[in-house]
């Protein structure tokens, strides 16, 4: 079984400050890891993903996340946030083995609401 824990339910920050949204997971199999973003009154959009290779992955709008296998973490960071980054962020995990019982199913964390203040 897989599980995801997002350690902060709400993170308020000021514009241009750095931010880290924390995510820890547990799984008995190899994993794929994801961060999704949900802007107010919209569906979920993929922000970035780790499938294999480099443990540091980046999004087009300045976010990055690092897969740390020993600490089973996938924290999301941005060095300088904008008002437009205000949204709810979800960390998710999926089993990486085709045909396994967890293959294709995403397990989500509880979500972190990031609020950027001017």
């Amino acid at each position: 079984a897989q599980s995801v824990t997002q350690l902060d339910s709400q993170v308020p920050v000021f514009e241009e400050a750095p931010v880290e949204l924390r995510c820890n997971y547990s799984s008995s199999v190899s994993v794929y890891l994801f961060w999704y973003v949900q802007y107010p009154n919209q569906g979920l959009q993929l922000l970035l993903k780790y499938l294999s290779g480099s443990t540091l992955v980046e999004s087009i709008n300045g976010f990055e996340a690092e897969f740390n296998k020993s600490q089973t973490s996938f924290h999301l960071r941005k060095p300088s946030v904008h008002i437009s980054d205000t949204a709810e962020y979800f960390c998710a995990v999926s089993g990486a083995n085709a045909g396994g019982t967890s293959y294709g199913k995403l397990t989500f964390g509880q979500g972190t609401i990031l609020t950027v203040h001017p």
């Binding site: 294709g104 199913k105 989500f108």
Partner: protein, 112 residues
């Protein structure tokens, strides 16, 4: 781009009604999923389907059923709606397991 369309953005239904939530995707994806989203709980998987007429229970299937008669359409059915099923329902589809999910915009269901 893949498009996942959920037929209703908002729905209000009465307790005991049978409710159908429809989801259609336009890119021939094998896998389709229904999640519900509740504050503080994130998204929880209700049912998923990896082929036509195939379905598997997710983590919270009680009180729900699904139908997938055609590859592009995946319906979620609330047999007898209850107030604790008031929630945001999100449909998703994917081609290669979890590597590339596309979500619909969601249906906000209120059961009164």
């Amino acid at each position: 781009d893949v498009k996942v369309t959920q037929s209703s953005r908002y729905l209000v239904k009465r307790t005991g009604e049978k409710v159908f939530l429809e989801c259609v995707q336009d890119m021939d994806h094998e896998n389709m999923f229904w999640y519900r989203q509740d504050p503080g709980l994130g998204l929880r998987l209700i049912y998923f389907s990896y082929d036509v007429k195939m379905k598997e229970k997710g983590d919270i299937p009680e009180g729900y059923s699904v139908s997938r008669e055609k590859k592009e359409r995946f319906s979620l059915i609330l047999e007898s709606a209850s107030t604790n099923q008031t929630s945001m329902y999100l449909c998703a589809s994917s081609l290669q397991g979890a590597k590339g999910y596309t979500f619909g915009s969601g249906t906000r269901l209120t059961v009164v």
